[in-house]
Amino acid sequence: MVMFKKLLYNPQSVITAIIILTIIVLGILAPVIAPHDPTETNVAMKYASPSWEYPLGTDYLGRCTLSRLLHGIFPSVILVMLTVFCVIGIGTFIGIISAYYGGWLNEILMRICDILLSFPTEVMILAFVGIMGLGLTPMLIAIILLKWPWYAVVIRNAALKYKEKNYIYFSKASGMKGPAVILRHVLPMTLPDIILLASSNVSSTILLLSGFSFLGLGIQPPNPEWGNMLSEARNVILSHPTQMLPPGIAIMAVCLSFSLFGDAVRDAMDAKHISKGIFKSKGGYALGCVTGSVGFGRFGKNRRSLSDK
């Protein structure tokens, strides 16, 4: 509840959440609200300026840019979010299991990660797409298969910080079993790291997918996708530079929103940010002297030393 209250009173989280939710809703409702069929061509209207009929104009085949932009949300954002959910889910499971149980299980899982991480992701995705064929599905499967080890390693390192904490020891001593300790303590403690990773990963995966579509390896025309739209607009960048704006701004807005929302959620989940007091102190330390900071508990000795760092 405290976390939700903090998110609710933080303009950064509210604005970015509204943007993300709006985009998702628009993506789901695209078949209903889009003014035109995104693949319907009208050569007589190519490169039309914004009008009531075509609110964002048309492209080189006279297709409605707004309709393509709306239909492009599903592959560009919603499918990417699902992909990232899978990647983070696998990475979290492997990373936390590896950190918590340690021993040979950790060694085996981390060596598998090392092997998979030794291949450059983009090159492996290209190889995977080469074997499986062009399209969105092979690309998303390749991203899931090749990206989870990176997250497993990062989440394992985050979870390792908490493994040796006294509250974990106490839970074990109280008879709590491994899965219960993980669900009650380790997972909630690593959640801020996971959310931060997820938010930045959504952005990077959107950019990765858009990049591959831009190169013609992702979603194939005439299906709409933001990277695809950018690629098509690139051909007329000098004659019709405004063609780049709708997909470019959309990609930038979504990536920025996810990153900023992730930052806000991470801050909200960190209990230490619920601090009430404002600490002010004066005084300095002399070189060559050992200075002691003496006082009762809650007098601020530790904060003083932290503020001096």
Partner: protein
């Protein structure tokens, strides 16, 4: 009674194929009575905290057995409600994301027992706090308050034994005395025995009637507090002599 029989513990060095092992406990035999407070004392790295973790069931011994009234302490059901612990680092004793009430309630959840806020408040009063602390989070507590909450949590199941692993070492000197007095008071009120792990012989003598001196993973001497001046082992005598006098 907790019986520790021929317990040996070693740690493997990291690496899948690493065969190197470091022995931390070497054939330890010890009986911990349920009539007196016992202290395990020794210098850093002597293996006393490892022994504490084995007693709490956090780790398993490589050989030997640790039993409570004849039953292996490795079984969670044997430990539940009978043994509890208070650790040194109060900053990590309580999960920073949960409130004091939830922290105190945690051992009861494991035992599938209900635990009301009133019961939690009673425990807090026992340890010198009050009900206003129930909704607080660990970062809103001072070191002494956090340690008192940890003590309340340890006592929530009415355990027979409470393991105090350097439980006062990181507190202010004035708070140390308050907490030690609190331990003594609770020992009588709640009929609980302490197993104190420390390297501070003054704290050891203040709280416990029996001293077990540890060195390099072995018990080198066991002695009653009354006879502390008659130590036979040279290491034990050196340890006693090393008390800093201000």
């Amino acid at each position: 009674m907790i019986e520790i029989c021929n317990v040996t513990k070693y740690y493997k060095e990291p690496g899948l194929f690493s065969g190197k092992k470091k022995k931390v406990l070497d054939d330890v035999n010890l009986n911990l009575d349920d009539t007196e407070n016992t202290v395990i004392i020794g210098e850093s790295g002597s293996g006393k905290s490892t022994l504490g973790r084995l007693i709490l069931g956090i780790e398993k011994p490589n050989s030997g057995t640790i039993t409570l009234d004849g039953q292996s302490l490795l079984k969670p059901s044997v430990r539940q409600g009978k043994i509890s612990a208070v650790f040194q680092d109060y900053t990590s004793s309580i999960n920073p994301n949960i409130s004091v009430y939830k922290a105190i309630k945690e051992p009861m959840i494991m035992m599938h027992r209900s635990f009301s806020e009133e019961e939690a408040e009673e425990l807090l009063v026992k340890v010198g706090l009050d009900g206003s602390y129930l909704g607080r989070f660990p970062h809103e507590l001072s070191g002494g308050q956090a340690q008192r909450v940890a003590i309340a949590r340890a006592l929530s199941t009415n355990p027979h034994y409470v393991l105090l692993d350097e439980a006062v070492s990181s507190l202010d000197v004035s708070i140390q005395v308050q907490i030690l007095d609190l331990f003594l008071k609770l020992s009588e009120e709640c009929n609980v025995n302490y197993l104190l792990i420390t390297h501070d012989i003054q704290i050891a003598c203040y709280l416990c009637s029996r001293l077990v001196i540890f060195n390099s993973g072995k018990v080198v001497e066991e002695i009653d507090r009354a006879n502390v001046s008659c130590l036979k082992n040279e290491y034990s005598r050196n340890l006693l002599d090393s008390i800093i006098t201000i």
